[in-house]
Symmetry: D2
Subunit: 329 residues, 4 copies
């Protein structure tokens, strides 16, 4: 069985998913929709997909699943429409910036019985999957402390910042999901500190660019998250899990791993420049997992509840940082 | 322009090239030929290629180029046939195990003006390319000493060994090509030592499994090559170039780069299991380079002369090891 | 000029300092005092020092400086006595577990004009010193975020825990000092989470064994500290500083740095087993800095004010963890 | 029992041994002899040793052992004199540059029953010792191939070169000893290539500065040695042993192990600047092993036969390089 896809949104992340679908032998990209015609055409040309409107895709009988890569404020509406249209849905994070709206949307998903997977791509990175597998095999005993370092190479445009819901909902949300994935237990309290150290304009837009967060679970497990909107040496993505019997860590990845030595020392090249190159395999694995779940009639994971849980942590962290207090969930 | 390919041979390395062609947007795999029907069918199904005979491919007007992945003893004949048929040719190494036969074959290529590229895939590994680029940029000054460590995870079947032409022509030949590529100057003398340390059956088949080679160029640059047919920790592929101003090295690659620590220490997973996974990107880049050269009307490199030069080094090394003497070229 | 030392306390850390003094050509260990006669004799024999009482050392005219390695609850009294006796004083951290008592003691030091250095040995580790030097040279721009991972190989005896003042005053205090040293700015707020994950008996003794702390300075710089009383892979001591132009990190140290590869992967030995081996050079550098300051008539650093500042952070962290709130200083 | 030492020669390596003796609690440096008075006085002052002539040390009843650090051409004479004088002897490598003279000298050692240890310091490096221990424990199975990379930071003065006996006897000799130590079997054939790539003046002095050597043992084990007189990135000292069950490697050491990341990549500092800092622990361990052997009445190892074996390999390598042929021993 080949899963027939419609792609909603042909921007940066849409292209990433188009490539993942295009190189998956169990999938075919049938249609792409985007108001920006050239972006849609590029994908159409590259993968032999038709250019259609969202309405046409909604009504199409030759589409089994959609990938939602449109702006965040359209996600919840589109999920509801395509859930009602009986399509399987893969939606980029977040479902919405508002917890109440996410809850409404998930109620529709529940009622319609639609398959919904949320795009926390990092769960599908082979290195992070190996970390999780190491935990599952018992090699480090009981998980005690998770440390996540996540720094973007540089800040996005201020316009993006303004629509992003803020750093906790836009950037840290991936780390909240990763912390949940690795802790294996829900956080019950959050302490966050947030500053503007990278670019004053980010502060003027009401957001932060440098944050530190501690999550604590009911049994006292802890997760530390360190975020910055700028790392001169590339896209810094590290996780480390400390347990009763040992430790497992996933190091950074670089596109080229040579080392040059001279009188100044030994130098390795910078890290990947951003998520499109760093997480190429993760995006391919993610769509493959979505397809595999569809084929097997299983629920795809992470699902709507995971999206909601991460958003709640983001809201709690924002409250913690703003009011300078530990927030209990 | 899309380059239309015929694939001759659907075995292990044939599959690797089929995948590289299949994922290259400037190429299309039109036909595949293999006496082993199931192998041909697998590739046919996966890439939408027709199953044809070699004769049919030779005469086809819808084929621009062939990739020769058949057994070594057919390479020279096929190169000659397809050179005469006006096709561009990508041939897996070696062209032939006999220098005289290679010279004859290259004469035909010369006469027909055919485009011929020889499959020294390692030249297209992104890490080794970065080593070469570092040299070209002058970052390590003048090249003085090249060190190549190349160990297979385990020996091939004895039947393969018997037909292989011996370790120097089958395995070290890649390192001879890499040494030439990095030295930037032709070796003029060779000292080789060869032993049977891994498997006595290899010795009984008249071959060696563990070899050390020194190459020296006219100006005194040196290359050291260390080969073993068995490395318990995976496919060991390292190069290091020492120059007047510094050193550049390409480290081993692993499919998953985590580290697990416990009371026994810090453990990283083994290396890639063999060339198909280690050199995935190299194979894709190699075919891309072949296509790019065709499109640009340039000679693809490495060509027939490179194949011949590496074979001559292999013959010299064998002579050196057998007779216990340094051999001058 | 040779500085003549009296050592007060011949226990584990006393031995470390005796060795540092013994191998410093500008110093001589003249006397050692300890109620445990065998411990004192061991040091006396090894370094040719006399065994004396604390009173004798206090009144001795052949002693320029003392190193206080007695139990914590004697530190403040001894500092006051030797300050009045006109000796230079090196005192192991902490000065006292009570901020008020520390303030009294420092007032005496102030009045007497005594030289007082406090034993934050990590400031003298060559790797951490190189981190600081990198910052001072401007190589990473403005410091933004400091990350400190500090894990003991295993918990101390419960008796020690009971007298220790708790993990924040006993263990994290080193990290608070390191954070101050690297941030270059005083923290103004602290959020700490603390759990008992390693050993219930630690919890029953009223202490924690696993803590996470965020410090924030007035300008929004942040420091993250992760502590555990147990790391199966050795004494885990890492620092990383992220700045506007780059990042600098000091990795863990191991006594032997080989790597063994086999079918299970690549394994490096565990880390140093604890501070005596990990910080051998730091202890030697520390005493050398104390001696150098004395010789130059400079104030030794870190001094009493640094000891007090770290203790205040420890108290604030304990309050934060106990009451589940961010504490402002 | 304290071993009472006389030091012959107070130059660079003499100072290294004086420090090792000075910090060993089972040893005392009683006397130092050097025609260069200031050099002798420096050591005398630092360690409380008397300045004596070689004759005085030879006849002294308060000297148990001598450390010979004088110029190479005096080694054999001094060994004979002190063997006859009944002193234990530690002699820096080489015993002599001439195999015949070494044999004569060792005959005297044999007749007198003197204890003689030769200064192959690298056998006592903790990292290389751990490599050997790993082999002895069977962790890599049977040794098959040893790879030694050994590069000096820069060439010595031409005057030194002229008296050195050439690179094979002066520099590679350490690697020949290390190869013997790790192979566990004597080499029976040698192929060496040698060039002048670093400094023409070295060639004009009749020596080489860049050499590659293959050693082969009777059972076919192989060792590869790569030497250069210049490495811009520091004192490059690596060994790797490949066996039937795995591989063990000792990486380079650096005085400070931090990493600085910025837009140009990740940079670690250069290696140690030379043997005095790189092998500090090795020199201390070496003297400790000499003392321990004396105390236990055991023969110290490596002894005269090891010095002779390494010199024979050096001579064979020189012959191989000069005549362009493999040399059988």
């Amino acid at each position: 069985m080949t899963v027939r896809f419609g792609l909603l949104g042909a921007g940066r992340i849409g292209k990433v998913h188009a490539r993942a679908i295009g190189s998956n032998q169990a999938a075919r990209l049938v249609a792409v929709a985007d108001a920006a015609e050239q972006a849609a055409r590029d994908i159409s040309d590259a993968y032999g997909a038709e250019m259609r409107t969202i309405d046409q895709i909604e009504q199409a009988s030759d589409i089994d699943a959609v990938v939602i890569c449109t702006p965040t404020d359209t996600h919840a509406d589109l999920i509801e429409r395509f859930a009602r249209a009986g399509k399987a849905i893969f939606c980029e994070k977040p479902i919405d910036l508002d917890v109440g709206r996410v809850e409404e949307c998930l109620a529709v998903v529940e009622q319609t019985g639609a398959a919904l997977m949320v795009g926390f791509n990092r769960r599908f990175d082979p290195h992070f999957m190996a970390v999780r597998k190491t935990i599952d095999e018992g090699a480090i005993g009981t998980v005690e402390m998770v440390t996540i370092t996540s720094r973007d190479p540089g800040p996005p445009p201020i316009d993006y910042i303004k629509r992003s819901g803020g750093i906790f909902r836009d950037m840290t949300i991936h780390d909240f999901d990763m912390a949940r994935y690795l802790l294996g237990e829900e956080p019950v309290s959050v302490s966050a500190h947030a500053s503007v150290l990278v670019d004053k304009a980010i502060g003027e837009a009401g957001d932060y660019d440098s944050v530190s967060v501690i999550l604590e679970t009911g049994s006292g497990k802890q997760a530390l998250i360190s975020n910055s909107r700028r790392a001169t040496y590339g896209y810094d993505q590290r996780i480390e899990v400390h347990g009763s019997k040992g430790m497992v860590a996933a190091e950074n990845q670089r596109p080229v791993s040579i080392e040059v030595a001279n009188e100044k020392g030994y130098t390795r090249p910078p890290l990947h420049d951003f998520f499109m190159t760093r997480y190429t395999e993760a995006y391919a694995n993610e769509i493959a997992a979505f397809i595999a779940a569809m084929s097997a009639g299983r629920k795809a994971s992470p699902g709507g509840a995971d999206g909601l849980a991460a958003l709640r942590l983001a809201d709690a962290a924002l409250l913690s940082a703003r009011e300078g207090r530990t927030v209990r969930l």
